[in-house]
């Protein structure tokens, strides 16, 4: 499974998204279930999935799916 598929799998599990979803529509505070508490759960799940630790600035910047892909890819490449 490639990086984007793994990220999407985590998003769907944490945000309890059933069925198919257009990843470009996933946005913090807009997507159902993606609010502040879920954001921390999402970050922890992504960190666990990729065995990485994100920087505080990256956690705050992760406001949509595309940003998440960029941040996870950067962290995964650095570890």
């Amino acid at each position: 499974m490639d990086l984007e598929a793994r990220v999407l799998k985590v998003f769907k599990e944490v945000l309890e998204i059933k069925g198919d979803v257009d990843p470009s529509t996933l946005k913090y505070n807009e997507t159902a279930n993606w609010a502040s508490l879920a954001h921390i759960t999402l970050v922890a799940a992504l960190e666990s999935e990729f065995d990485i630790m994100l920087e505080p600035d990256d956690i705050l910047a992760m406001s949509n799916y595309a940003e998440a892909i960029r941040i996870i890819r950067k962290a995964a490449n650095a570890s």
């Binding site: 922890a44 960190e47 065995d51 630790m53 505080p56």
Partner: protein, 250 residues
């Protein structure tokens, strides 16, 4: 009752001396690998690591970082995680004491006290809770103070910062319980360390009259209680503030 922390990984902030050092040593003797910490400019950190290695067989990793900043706290947790792939125990001990009467406390001193005593707890808890949540297990002990519960003239900002630690402990205990993370605080009374070294003989005599146990506490007294709280013996204890004060608040 023997506490067994074998294979667990602990971070103890502000552990180059005093209560932090005694706690790090105690956890190491109980079997934990310990990440010890102090600010970047503290030459005693390497000496502390050597002193613990001399009596314990576990891994002792000294990491210099200013946990009063979010970046410093994140870097400390990241180093611990990358070294051991887990963090089970966090002891938020880093702090400082500055005394001054109300009206004579500079803004820089207020900022320094709040960052060191309270900011460090907030920063470290934010950084480590995600790592602990992965295993659905972890325990955090925050060092507050009897001054955070009773206050003391001349310790206006210090008392406020330590009262904040109690609030943070209670909130974190509620929020993190579902992630399997316990959060408690220890509130030492008068403990003889370098931080209380400025107290005069007369002041000490007066203090001792207010301690039912009749003696000052030692760093080891506090370390023993922290060791209990992070152990499985306290697995159903969270959101508590435990005084280690010889009965001063009895």
């Amino acid at each position: 009752m023997q506490v067994d922390l074998s294979d667990r990984v602990a971070i103890v902030t502000g552990s180059s001396r005093g209560i932090g050092f005694a706690t790090a040593k105690r956890l190491a003797l109980a079997g934990a690998h310990v990440v010890i910490n102090s600010r970047q400019d503290d030459p005693r950190l390497a000496e502390a690591a050597e002193a613990i290695r001399a009596v314990a067989t576990t891994q002792i990793l000294p990491v210099a970082a200013d946990v009063g900043t979010a970046q410093g706290a994140a870097a400390l947790v990241k180093t611990a995680f990358e070294s051991f792939r887990r963090v089970d125990i966090l002891v938020n001990n880093a702090g400082l004491l500055k005394e001054a009467p109300i009206g004579m406390i500079g803004n820089d001193d207020i900022r320094a006290l709040i960052d060191a005593n309270l900011g460090s707890v907030l920063n470290m808890t934010q950084a480590v809770s995600r790592v602990m949540a992965r295993r659905k297990a972890g325990t955090i002990v925050n060092l507050t103070s009897i001054m955070g519960r009773r206050g003391r003239a001349g310790q206006f900002a210090y008392s406020a910062s330590k009262a904040g630690v109690i609030g943070a402990t209670l909130a974190a205990a509620k929020e993190l319980a579902k992630s399997g993370i316990r959060v408690n605080a220890v509130a030492p009374g008068y403990i003889e360390t370098s931080m209380t070294g400025h107290i005069t003989a007369d002041q000490k005599a007066a203090l001792l009259t207010s301690i039912p146990a009749g003696r000052a506490g030692t760093p080891e007294d506090v370390a023993a209680v922290v060791c209990f709280l992070v152990s499985d013996f306290a697995s159903y204890v969270t959101g508590q503030v435990l005084g280690v004060d010889g009965g001063m608040i009895a």
